[in-house]
Symmetry: D2
Subunit: 370 residues, 4 copies
């Protein structure tokens, strides 16, 4: 309710502003006995770090994570894991010229009206640096999923008009191009498109897709905490996301039932589906097929063009945003989407453990035997 | 967490199966002093009742709501409001032929795997009757919004290929056609499309749009309980929804920043925006312009065509679904979307009351003066 | 947060006023596959029914429970269980004479100030009838505990000055006297005491004790959701409770460490404790020995003596409370305490299932094998 | 649910172990515009610091707090406030001799059984250092209460057999003796008692009382989130607390109604009560009179005497606890109790803001006027 905590059994509480002392996250409810060290978290964080290509800001951010609690001799202890990343290389002066202006497409105006005060330096809490806490927690969630044999593949599906159709996906390409696209040819095309926008001082939207394999069947709570509903909140809560789709997504509005229904059949004595329009979710629960989710990101609102806007005292003016900004948020947001999906899955996997009396009994009876 | 409760300060807990004794909702956190009677709730419920046109099931359901608690002498008392709708006219026999089959596109399989037991009659808990509780609560939430001057307009934007462009909206048409479309001509076209599908024993998807006017600025909590994130969960939790969009939605992925940024300006001494690509939300908070949300619904999975599927013991077979089913869920889902949006807004309006120290002080100091 | 919901994974939402249409509860998160019928719940409810002895009000209340959802063919389905008890035999007229008066020791004044409106009939929401929902849910929780081999024994430890020392407990006496005391001799003494108070138009306080055997070790979450902290909220939330004690309770304030520390030793290859000052809880987690909790109830505030008080318009006056009231709340409250303890234990037993990575892995891996 | 978060609208998440990198807290939901700096928090922290008298451990802990986020130019911004205290002066070696032993009266055994792993150094998460996060958050909550004119007075009521009766309270004495007792003569007596225990290598229990003046009427949510129920959880969650009492507490079990009922009367046109047996709470809501709460603390379990116990492999043995331990936890726990009370009050004050429709309307209408 207080806004900075997500999840119930595996819950994360993020904190921190762009130009404050640092950013971080407290993970509560991580089970004991998970192997964890700073390196594993750092690997995740590095995927969202700026300065990796010409399409990400040239700011150098070390973003070194420190584990402050919850890990003892290389394993989690079941107590809260507090992760800290100190802010460095802040150029607060860059923002002094815009402290009284409302940047178009940003949260400056809404923050000011809600709280009557705002940390204008780099967007403060609404900065993309807020996602560092999410990604650090996502690394932990992913480690849990990994030990359960559940795997996530996340990538850039589209940049502006460059959209990769599903049949052109080559997942091993994802790490071969700076845009995390599953097709190097499309990535080249997208690069050219972005270079054009850089020249015109503009920015581009894009789309991220996340696919999850080997989900147990039945994950997700009925009604409001459905798997898809929980994922929708998780992913829509990422700044700049304006749409969340599951499976066929918006295309279902134009579909007909005889085609949209996925036919069940048996394959090697296991339940299978001929198609996967549902994106792996039926009735809000995982159906055993691949979970497919897409998030549409708006173009970076910080552009170098002069823009008309207003001051916080209600005068119309022109704003020029300096500083270092990505022409597109998507490549760096890939790991953010993956993190939010992972965190959501872990939370619902845990909630699912108490839904059958027979399993609860064998859980506790077994314990008594030992 | 338990799945059937939504909201924190204004929270609803729904219960009930399609063919059990009834369905209902407990609303907790409704403020005292709101005028409320059964008629106001019934008006809302009637909007989702079947039997209103040839495109909704011919089942007659009285769906009369009874207020069991929380209202005294015509006003809410601040205590939980329990609302009950008894089930009637259940033809459980219709379902006995399919009790061991998994209907494609339904939650039969996932329910069975998750819980090891399922009430197969009419989909049980995953029936559309589950939404009665949401709509009854939505009526109460709407009454609260109404008294704050906030208004919701919800309608069918698209049915299959028939999509009404924004510039063709005539909101007074919404109540003039059985499909709740804001354009009677498009509604006639959509009717013809649906009639064709009825003949081929098929069903159609569709899209619902909800617009909210006169929102105060700054509603929505930062980070995870953003206004858009909360709405995404609320609306994605409705059965058959596969995508939720805010403002320009998926279109932002192809947009460029210079066009997507909404320019602030002053109009009659008030902050205004030249465009509304953001759909009324910036940084997860309402920005004072119209809130725009769209939900894409998949086609009704229950179709009269024979379909291939499997039994619960893993044998392939053919299923024939009898009973009475809508060829499209959208017209009746319009009020469900509106209800979930209303409930979410009320919850976040209440949460917002404690975000500024000066306002808290004047709230409590004023009280002491009285 | 909205106040009428308790628990997270096994959560209950109660509703209803003394003189409204009825009272009830929605239980969300009850696992599927639990045998459940109305009779089992009724047995629990009957333990709190009035009219069972001269020390309970002579009102006849049928209090017949109806299961409205969540049970199919004699077993829970994992979906919300809605339980309804219709109010009957309400004599609202009894209360018309006091509708503008604030009864001493009651919530009339605080309700009025908080909500600006109150259902004055029988205390409305603050009536002891509110506990019907708790007890109905407690019956379900107890059934779950029972199937895990965990047993609860709850009884009246003290009535006014009549306090039964631990070494005088005879648990089979509990059902042999109308006061639910574990010693018939003390019960006779307490009866005489109560009869004296009835003559002087007065009422008595009392103490309830609950003991839980066969708890697994380690139940309770660290820090804020400790087992004792959760129990304290659960039990203090019962009307008229003014103190909650665990183990030695208030006596620890005068104890010394060398005596208060329970010595660990081995008994039949199992960890045991020489004493149980801790009341079965160490560091907020169950320690495997008997869980011991006590609740102190204030005397029934409704007494037949004339009392001085004020009107809701601030005038001093005299109040005479008619109607039918127990001279003590404790005997009927025994099952309420037991219910709240049971609900809390189930919730924490479920939460505990996700605290070790090895157990989570075997839970899900086993599933995959099946 | 995850155990380390408390509160809903004003919520705190604590983290950290005794001998890890540090301890801290994230406060979410603190309103914007509150003046806050590190000094104000430090003042609170200093009240729980060891080394202040011969009755607190001689460990020197700097316990300097750092504000990592949520404060900008001396005021809170409405975003999460992250507070960090680095651990220093840890003598982990002190604990190596007991890493395989279960200390009597400690959480070693329960931690080990629950999680299968434990940070044995200094009790890890169950160390009293965990309360640093609570107290840091309590400082912020107190600042909020202070600005609303609500004042807390917390003190040591009893140490072993030395109990100060209410009529002997002199609140200005509290800061005049090392035991935070409201009577210097009793404090001298208690000191002598503690010195005796130090000589016999033993420890003492004690009792803390907290009194809150100037509470608005009606704070507390009905049923489960009652003011007293919430306080009971908050205070019972503090390590070593075994009983929580409101007003007359356990004494009510022996009281009679005619004496226990507090008579309402009018004083200077304001509602008042002749007595305050209720401890300022009626029906779970503040009644405008002084709120009175007591917590009973068990004796420090770490005593220097040799004690019998078992190893983690189930062998009986003798344990000798070295290190530096207080002979009583109470004096340092005074500020912990005060902090938990303050945090609870703030949370419920915020929840209360949405309980009347007329107040909500004037809150938002006023906003529109501005």
């Amino acid at each position: 309710m207080s806004g900075s905590t997500f999840g119930n059994l595996f819950s994360i509480t993020t904190w921190g502003e762009s130009h404050g002392a640092g950013v971080g996250v407290v993970i509560d409810g991580c089970p004991a006995g998970l192997a964890l060290n700073e390196k594993a978290i750092q690997t995740y964080l590095n995927r969202r770090k700026p300065g990796q290509s010409k399409f990400t800001t040239s700011r150098k951010e070390a973003d070194q994570v420190e584990i402050l609690s919850g890990v003892f001799e290389g394993h989690t202890t079941g107590t809260p894991i507090s992760l800290l990343v100190r802010n460095e290389n802040q150029r607060s002066k860059d923002y002094s010229s815009i402290q009284n202006l409302y940047r178009p497409g940003h949260a400056d105006y809404t923050f000011d009206k809600k709280y009557g005060i705002r940390d204008y330096r780099g967007g403060g809490r609404s900065s993309a640096r807020e996602t560092i806490g999410r990604v650090a927690a996502g690394a932990v969630a992913s480690a849990i999923l990994d030990s359960l044999g559940i795997t996530l593949t996340t990538f850039t599906k589209a940049i502006g008009p460059v959209v990769i159709p599903e049949e052109q996906y080559h997942f091993h390409h994802i790490t071969e191009n700076a845009l995390y696209m599953p097709n190097n040819t499309y990535a080249t095309e997208a690069s050219a498109y972005l270079e054009g926008l850089i020249k015109t001082l503009d920015s581009s939207g894009g789309m991220v897709e996340c696919r999850v394999a080997h989900m147990p069947v039945g994950i997700g709570e009925t009604v409001f905490d459905k798997l898809d509903a929980s994922l929708a909140q998780a992913v829509m809560s990422i700044g700049a996301v304006k749409a969340v789709e599951i499976g066929d997504g918006t295309a279902v509005a134009q579909a007909i039932g005889s085609q949209n229904n996925d036919t069940f059949y048996m394959e090697n004595d296991e339940v299978a589906k001929k198609t996967n329009h549902s994106g792996g979710i039926l009735g809000g629960m995982s159906d055993g097929s691949e979970l497919i989710l897409r998030a549409s990101f708006k173009p970076t609102p910080s552009i170098a063009q002069s823009q008309r806007t207003i001051t916080d005292s209600g005068e119309e003016t022109v704003i020029n945003i300096h500083g270092r900004h990505d022409p597109i948020v998507v490549p760096r947001a890939v790991v953010v989407v993956e993190s939010m999906v992972a965190i959501t899955l872990v939370d619902l996997l845990f909630a699912n453990m108490r839904c059958r009396m027979d399993k609860i009994k064998s859980f506790y009876m077994e314990e008594k035997d030992v």
